[in-house]
Amino acid sequence: MATKETIRLESEHVDDQLDTTVLEELVRGEEVTATPLWKIRLRLFRRSFSQNWGLFKESKMGMVGLVIIAIFGLMAVAHPILMNTVWDPLVYHPVTGYDSVVTEYTIVEDGAVVDPLTELELSEARFELNPSVKVGELVRIPSQPAPPSLSGEHPHFLGTDPLGRDIFSQLLYGSRAAFLLGFVAALTTVFIATTVGSIAAYYGGAIDGFFMRFADLILLMPLLPLLIVLSAAVRINMVMLGVFIGILSGFGAEAIVLKSQALSIRVKSYIDAARVAGGGDRHIIFRHIVPNVLPLSFLYMMFGITGAITLEATLSFFGLLNVPMSWGIMINTASTQGYLLSGTNYWWLLFPAGLAVSFLAFGFFIVGRGMDEVINPRLRAR
């Protein structure tokens, strides 16, 4: 809560960190209103933000990444909207929906199948339907997974999976899951890494040593196998996974990097000034060191999200997560139903999901690189 104070300042006590407007008022010998601190902070923040945004805009990579993320964001938002309006949940629900797509087949002689999507062998037709069908007949068989179709009562833009569920719906839902996971993981990582790094840098000595040894231990542990073991021990859902990934990454490499950054800030003179002015340890850490470490933290947050999304997809692919639906699960379904090496015949089972994971990860990564150019002026193109 800010209070406005009117201060009469004498010329000898001019503090040259004040606004120039204040200085002018001082010179004129007038009364001066001190702007509340939070307002100054906000103004500075907004100014630096727009400055950095301008720089970021210059980076082609960063902007492309932002567009990609926006597209996926739209997908995530679109899903509940579609589910509640246009789509019939019985058909389109990503987990429980079911649509028996009926495909028309022309029956051909055994061994004369040219296009397996529209022609059916005689013996197989007899097995599926009834023994009296003949060559040349047109039969309709409900089949999953069905290829994409835009027509009919329930259009499936990307077809259905082996269990009859709409792929497009799953894709959109997976977007939500990915964002949720990504942010939980990244925020946890950043929170822990920033705190750890700042504290270690500030206190130094034994505390620093302890955190660094701990980070070494974490670095030693390969993330995927550990998560696999974890998921076997505990039933993990999205949020838990995010937190786990966050904890494991937060104490590791990122802490080390952020610590060096915090160290370089700690040795700056304004920290000493703050200490002399009577700032306590906690105050210095949280008011001075952390805000200056944050830009780097955000940078790593982007990379963290990339890693988390891929990690979850891999774990889901192995079927180790207690998650109802995600992109990884989509591929897992394709795999367990035996469509893994189907290639282009059933492309909609593998490619949308795989490409989605790759593209979203790609998007966050290049946004990170774009941010890198803002934070590290050396990388900028002149």
Binding site: L217, L219, L220, M221, P222, L224, A232, T314, L341, G354
Partner: protein, 385 residues
């Protein structure tokens, strides 16, 4: 140096014990145990299952189990594999270990070599279409969903083009009745490559040391390399097992390429950044002023310094490659430690899983150590005192 090493080894030992303990405890948290796999079979009475548990020591209190495990481990016994009873864990794992290491090492070496070379070249080239393509390609490889990528690679090159076999270590049909054992042949292959590499390395060192002339030095180095490679080929060509060796080699290629491609992307990007930073240094300007050729400046001065941050990133990349290895082994059905690990998890074969993780931990620790030593070799400003 000795002091550093011994101190470091003690550190590693402690870290390892902590790691192993944590892993083991985590594994205990897995619900159920091996005897549950028998539940599905109604003919097996409860008493049998209980006896199985007793025999495997699963009915003992937790602390006793832990202590037994740790003490046995350092006696060299990793216990008996529950799922492959009565084979013990060491046998099972050490059979699979060389395969995993070959996959690992080949992919890493390939990725590092190509990644460093290309990163160096595009950083030097200063912009243009090629650089953009490489950067985008590199980022794509680094962020692509690896499991999916491996599946696609397998399908495209194994299934569709048919250039490579579809996973697995050997074409079983080929080997039946041949009288050769896959593991033995494989070990022989590894040994031969290892010996040739060591000899090559030594010869290379001596050439560098005692060369007077840059031109003859290059020629001699290239000649020795050609000699080494052709010598290796000749040796195997004359060996009666050559078709089987070729079979193994053929199976190894696609998994190595797949894993290597992804690591390549990352290495290339890091090399490029490191090079760009190095190129801004003063000594590069000095090198230009000295009238040195572009190639010398790029390789001898810039790239050599760029190697330092790349080596650091190596350590971090180790964790990724291990994870990547597991996925690769799964999709390509490559019978290495990663596959065993996953299978062990599936059936709660705790000793097997613990053993696999333990070996992984040891490898990671030593990899870390080697990277640190390498770093001091590369940077004279850092000495291990």
């Amino acid at each position: 140096m000795i002091k550093f090493l011994s101190f470091r080894l003690v550190q590693m030992f402690i870290l390892f014990v902590v790691f192993l303990s944590i892993v083991w405890l985590l594994l205990q948290a897995m619900p159920g145990d091996i005897s549950d796999t028998l539940i599905g079979s109604p003919e097996i009475p409860l008493a049998t299952r209980l006896e199985l548990r007793a025999r495997l020591g699963l009915d003992q209190p937790l602390f006793v189990q832990y202590w037994t495990y740790i003490t046995n481990f350092f006696k060299g016994e990793m216990g008996v594999s529950f799922s492959r009873y009565p084979k013990d864990v060491s046998t099972v794992l050490f059979e699979a270990l060389p395969r995993t290491i070959v996959l690992f090492l080949s992919a890493t070496v390939l990725a590092f070599w190509m990644g460093f070379k290309s990163g160096k070249l595009i950083a030097w080239g200063r912009g243009g279409k090629t650089e953009q393509v490489f950067i985008v390609g590199g980022v794509f490889l680094q962020t692509v969903f690896y499991a999916w990528f491996a599946i696609v690679m397998l399908w495209v090159f194994g299934f569709y083009f048919g250039w490579f076999p579809i996973g697995r270590f050997i074409s079983v049909a080929l080997w039946q009745g041949s009288g050769f054992d896959a593991t033995d042949v494989f070990e022989e292959m590894i040994l031969s490559v290892f010996i040739v590499t060591v000899i090559y390395g030594v010869v290379r060192y001596f050439i560098r040391r005692y060369s007077q002339n840059l031109v003859t030095e290059q020629r001699m180095l290239r000649g020795t390399l050609a000699l080494a490679v052709s010598g290796l080929f000749l040796y195997w060509y004359l060996d009666p097992a050559r078709t089987y060796v070729a079979d193994i080699a053929h199976h190894t290629m696609l998994p190595v390429i797949t894993l290597g491609l992804v690591a390549f992307g990352a290495t290339m990007l890091i090399t490029r950044s490191a090079m760009l930073e190095t190129l801004g240094e003063d000594y590069i300007l000095t090198a230009r002023a000295k009238g040195l050729s572009d190639r010398v400046i790029r390789d001898r001065h810039a790239a050599r310094n760029a190697m330092l941050p790349v080596t650091t990133s190596f350590v971090l990349a180790l964790s990724f490659v291990i994870g990547g290895g597991i996925v690769t082994e799964t999709i390509f059905s490559w019978p290495g430690m990663g596959l065993l690990f996953l299978q062990g998890i599936g059936v709660s074969d705790i000793p097997l899983v613990a053993g696999a993780l333990a070996i992984t931990g040891v490898l990671a620790l030593f990899g870390h150590l080697i990277a640190d030593i390498l770093y001091t070799v590369l940077d004279p400003r850092i000495r291990l005192t």
